[in-house]
Symmetry: C2
Subunit: 162 residues, 2 copies
């Protein structure tokens, strides 16, 4: 019987998988019950709303959200279908485009943040002291090769996921 990874490492792996899936599920369920779309929509709206001009190239969105290109393309489709964002022509590069958040999009993002932040508090915040949350961050960061800007983002108005 091979035993490359230590028992501790394996246990950590298992928990990382299980706990994340449970917590994510719980948060997504809360949002859904409140009548909101999936978290990915929120993330996209947040990125769009952060852009000074309110418009972002799909490629940028893709990099920010760490999701594949086709996924971005379809997510934008859905946002546009729902009137939360609009595609704008990109004059300087005719292959590309800009995606601009609409007023409806901004409103939804704000409303979602109420429910979303409450869910984070309920499923994470209330179970961990700030000190422990920071410890958890530190340990997770060592696995993920750094989430760079996460601290900065969290300090602002909404939190991305994934």
């Amino acid at each position: 019987m091979k035993r490359k990874p230590s028992t501790e490492a394996t246990a950590a792996w298992i928990r990382l998988m299980r706990v994340q899936s449970r917590v994510l599920d719980a948060v997504e369920q809360d949002l859904k019950k409140a009548g909101f779309p999936p978290l990915a929509w929120y993330d996209a709206l947040l990125e769009l709303s952060r852009a000074p001009s309110g418009a972002v190239r799909p490629v940028e969105l893709e990099k920010q959200m760490l999701i594949p290109q086709y996924s971005t393309s379809r997510l934008i489709d859905r946002l546009v279908d729902e009137g939360l964002a609009a595609r704008r022509e990109c004059k300087i590069d005719k292959r590309g485009q800009f995606v601009e958040i609409t007023e409806a999009g901004r409103e939804l993002q704000k409303k979602m943040w109420s429910a979303y932040s409450a869910a984070i508090e309920k499923h994470v915040g209330s179970k961990l002291s700030d000190v422990d949350a920071s410890r958890l961050c530190g340990l997770l960061d060592r696995l993920g090769c750094s989430c760079d800007e996460a601290q900065a983002l969290a300090a602002r108005d909404g939190a991305p996921a994934r």
Copy 2:
């Protein structure tokens, strides 16, 4: 601007989502590159192989793996299609059935564990001391309302995910 969850809690949430998804991706990719099926198959095979009789009721599998009923049903379909498991009639309850792992299934499980354990070591073990891994476990457990048996499982021959 609301600020229900602390900055620390939010940062922990973000990292939990991001790091998990990166690590899971990395491990799944390693397995795929080695020509193996997805992790879910491994988990199922492991559960089946653990059963003393080598046969398990789908309902049991469902509870162990924490996935919905229809998901189990279809996963079993795929395993059976590939000759890794077989459906056996359940005499005592004609609604139900038993799922039994085949020799091919046992072999695949073992081979996958080599690749899987190597991936865990590469993406988790090598980045965290045992002590830190244990700390991580402790913190995660507080979020997940306990993963009960995870420690016991890890001590044996293979580790489930999710």
